[in-house]
């Protein structure tokens, strides 16, 4: 009898996780794959169509608009955010900067606010006539203070990128700070003695030292950018902006599935997005050569 107890005990301990994973993880995944092969109208009416949803998606101009917008956002965010985060981290990692901790907190603080609050804040900042941004641009460069950031097609994505910059730069900075602090300080001294200037030290000591974190942050922010939804939703509402300039992939999924009621098509969009993100991450890891180092 004790033997049997000993045998079953591990399974009993694992059961809560396995069960909840099966119910809340595996089942929805499988169900959504199946769903993507149906045309649905609300939860009841379902009609099997095979791969039609996917084929239709590939010819859906709105979907491609969403892909283009999302890619623009991802590229803009990653290319602006990460260098800025790293720059701030480098600056705040120096021992001779006074009040480092205060600045670290300030740059990180947007993450402590709710997304809704941030969106409200930026609605005010981006407001046409009395917004802070227009006022500043007007005061500094004499630009007209009537710019309608969120209702001019060409300005919607730049505005979103700017808000994301404000939101996430400090967060990524914290990753980089941690990585920088893990670099052996003696390496900089050795490099100095070996004749390396600041730039050479950055290139030969800092970058290789923070590489794993750098790759992690790049992949993570790319994935995060491709899942952009809340920010656009909060700033633009269901409308996805003028000329669909703010239509992102997840927003399109939401419009189809929850406004239009075609959960099957929405599931197909979701799975296509997942595949795209997976491919992107693999390409990034491949380019950086992660996973095949001799160490």
């Amino acid at each position: 009898m004790p033997l049997r107890t000993a045998r079953t005990a591990p399974y009993l301990f694992l059961a809560p996780f396995v069960l909840s994973f099966l119910i809340f993880g595996a089942y929805p995944i499988i169900r959504s794959v199946m769903l993507s092969f149906y045309i649905t109208s609300g939860p009841e009416a379902q009609h099997f169509v095979g791969l039609d949803n996917y084929l239709h998606l590939l010819q859906d101009p709105d979907f491609w608009t969403a892909v283009r917008n999302t890619a623009t956002f991802a590229l803009g965010s990653v290319l602006l955010q990460l260098p800025l985060s790293l720059g701030l981290a480098l600056l705040l990692n120096r021992a001779d900067i006074r009040g480092r901790n205060v600045f670290r907190f300030i740059f990180f603080s947007p993450n402590l606010m709710g997304l809704v609050f941030s969106a409200l804040l930026f609605m005010l900042i981006l407001a046409p006539r009395f917004g802070l941004l227009n006022a500043a641009l007007h005061a500094l460069f004499g630009l007209p203070s009537t710019t309608r950031w969120l209702s001019t097609p060409s300005l919607v994505m730049p505005a979103l990128i700017m808000v994301a910059l404000w939101l996430y730069t400090g967060f990524n900075m914290v990753y980089f700070l941690a990585a920088l602090q893990a670099v052996d300080g003696e390496l900089y001294e050795a490099a100095t003695i070996d004749g390396a200037g600041r730039w050479a030290q950055f290139w030969h000591v800092t970058l290789p030292g923070i590489r794993p974190v750098l790759i992690f942050v790049v992949v993570l922010s790319t994935i995060g950018s491709f899942q952009l939804f809340e920010l656009a939703f909060l700033l633009l509402g269901n409308s996805s902006g003028p000329d669909q300039a703010g239509l992102t992939i997840v927003m399109y999924l939401y419009q189809n599935g929850f406004l239009g009621g075609d959960l099957g098509y929405a599931a197909a969009i979701g799975w296509t997005l997942a595949l795209m993100v997976l491919l992107l991450a693999l390409v990034q890891l491949r380019i950086t050569g992660t996973g095949k180092e001799a160490r």
């Binding site: 001294e189 070996d194 004749g195 390396a196 030969h204 160490r295």
Partner: protein
């Protein structure tokens, strides 16, 4: 020519702690100078000031006659081996060795030949494509040496380069580093806390204590003519016995009273000191190396100390004897082991005046006899 000179150099850290006091020290071109002292005595600080990694609070640092206090480390052309080696972990051994040459923007072909040459010299050729993480401690040490040697620096600085190696490898590398230095003839400043390393490697040895340079001399001079009780006790292993003594007025030459017994110094001519009466008066401390304790039969009745054996340690052909003298003072003696002594045994030991060291109240040695 690249002699190095510290002129009245002080180092005060930002927290107000003074790590180096009034350092005056000249290092000749091509010399192998070892800085030695207990941990925290300011050796690394001194070396780092020389490298340019620490600022100099006051005083002058001269290299080849030029003041370099404010010269950037890169401009000093000094190579350094760190205690932890500080190898670039993502570069191969070859990449590490080539790095200083690349930074100097030498032509690629020359970089390669010079790196190979040094790798060959240090027997690193088979390891050139490995990363440091896959090397043993001894191999890493060699790579660090190679990275320093590949340049043509004004001086090599080494901060306890062997302290992370096991004892056997340490002895081997000690000899190799000394040989390499002789071969290249480059001025070398070597820091260690190990007096054996210092004594076996250095042309001259600088002994530090609490940020103060105590003595700079050849190993032999340090051993035979230590300037004070600190140097006397630090140099030599096992450590010198330092025992309270006083001079007793007596006819027929100076007499020392040690542990309640009288030791005749004869006319004082046998000792290494210039024992004018005034000097001998100031003696408060007698130094005697354990190996300098002699067989009582070899000296007269007036040169013996008596005591009880507290403890012995056998060292093969010899034994270390811990002796409690008449007044309880501990004396360590290294004696022949043909008759093993036992704890509790009462024995006599002989004192040879020629091998004594004598110190004054402030710890300084009495003036040594000239020549």
């Amino acid at each position: 020519m690249a002699e190095i000179a510290f002129r009245n150099v002080n180092k005060i850290y930002p927290n107000g702690f003074q790590a180096v006091h009034r350092l005056d020290l000249s290092i000749a071109d091509g010399e192998f100078l070892v800085m030695v002292g207990p941990s925290g005595c300011g050796k690394s600080t001194t070396l780092r000031m020389l490298a340019g990694l620490e600022t100099i609070s006051s005083g002058d640092l001269l290299i080849a006659g030029h003041r370099v206090n404010d010269l950037h480390p890169r401009a000093r052309n000094i190579a350094m081996v760190f205690q932890s080696y500080a190898l670039y972990p993502h570069k191969t051994v070859q990449g590490n060795i080539e790095f200083p040459l690349r930074m100097a923007r030498l032509p690629a072909a020359e970089v390669k030949t010079r790196a190979l040459e040094v790798a060959r010299m240090l027997e690193l050729e088979p390891l050139l494509q490995r990363k440091p993480g896959l090397l043993s401690g001894g191999q890493r040490q060699r790579v660090a040496m190679a990275r320093a040697l590949v340049r043509d620096p004004v001086a090599f600085l080494m901060d306890e380069p062997l302290s992370n190696l096991d004892a056997k490898l340490r002895v081997q590398m000690r000899a190799e580093i000394a040989a390499l230095q002789r071969r290249t003839g480059t001025t070398t400043v070597y820091v260690t806390h190990d007096q054996v390393e210092a004594m076996t490697m250095g042309d001259r040895v600088a002994v530090f204590k609490d940020g103060l340079l105590q003595q700079v001399d050849t190993p032999q001079q340090l051993f035979e003519r230590p300037v004070n009780t600190f140097v006397a006790g630090f140099i030599g292993s096992p450590s010198m016995n330092l025992i309270t003594a006083r001079r007793e007025p007596a006819g027929g030459g100076p007499v020392l009273v040690v542990a309640g017994e009288r030791i005749s110094l004869g006319k004082g001519m046998e000792t290494r000191f210039n024992l004018t009466d005034a000097d001998a008066e100031r003696v408060v401390c007698l130094g005697l190396r354990p190996e300098d304790v002699v067989d009582p039969q070899l000296v007269g009745e007036d040169r013996r100390l008596h005591g009880r054996v507290a403890l012995t340690e056998l060292l093969g052909r010899e034994q270390m004897v811990y002796l409690d003298l008449r007044d309880g003072t501990r004396l360590v003696a290294r004696l022949h082991a043909d008759r093993r002594l036992k704890a509790g045994e009462e024995i006599a030991v002989g004192i040879d005046p020629a091998r004594l060291y004598l110190f004054q109240a402030d710890g300084r040695a009495l003036p040594y006899r000239q020549g």
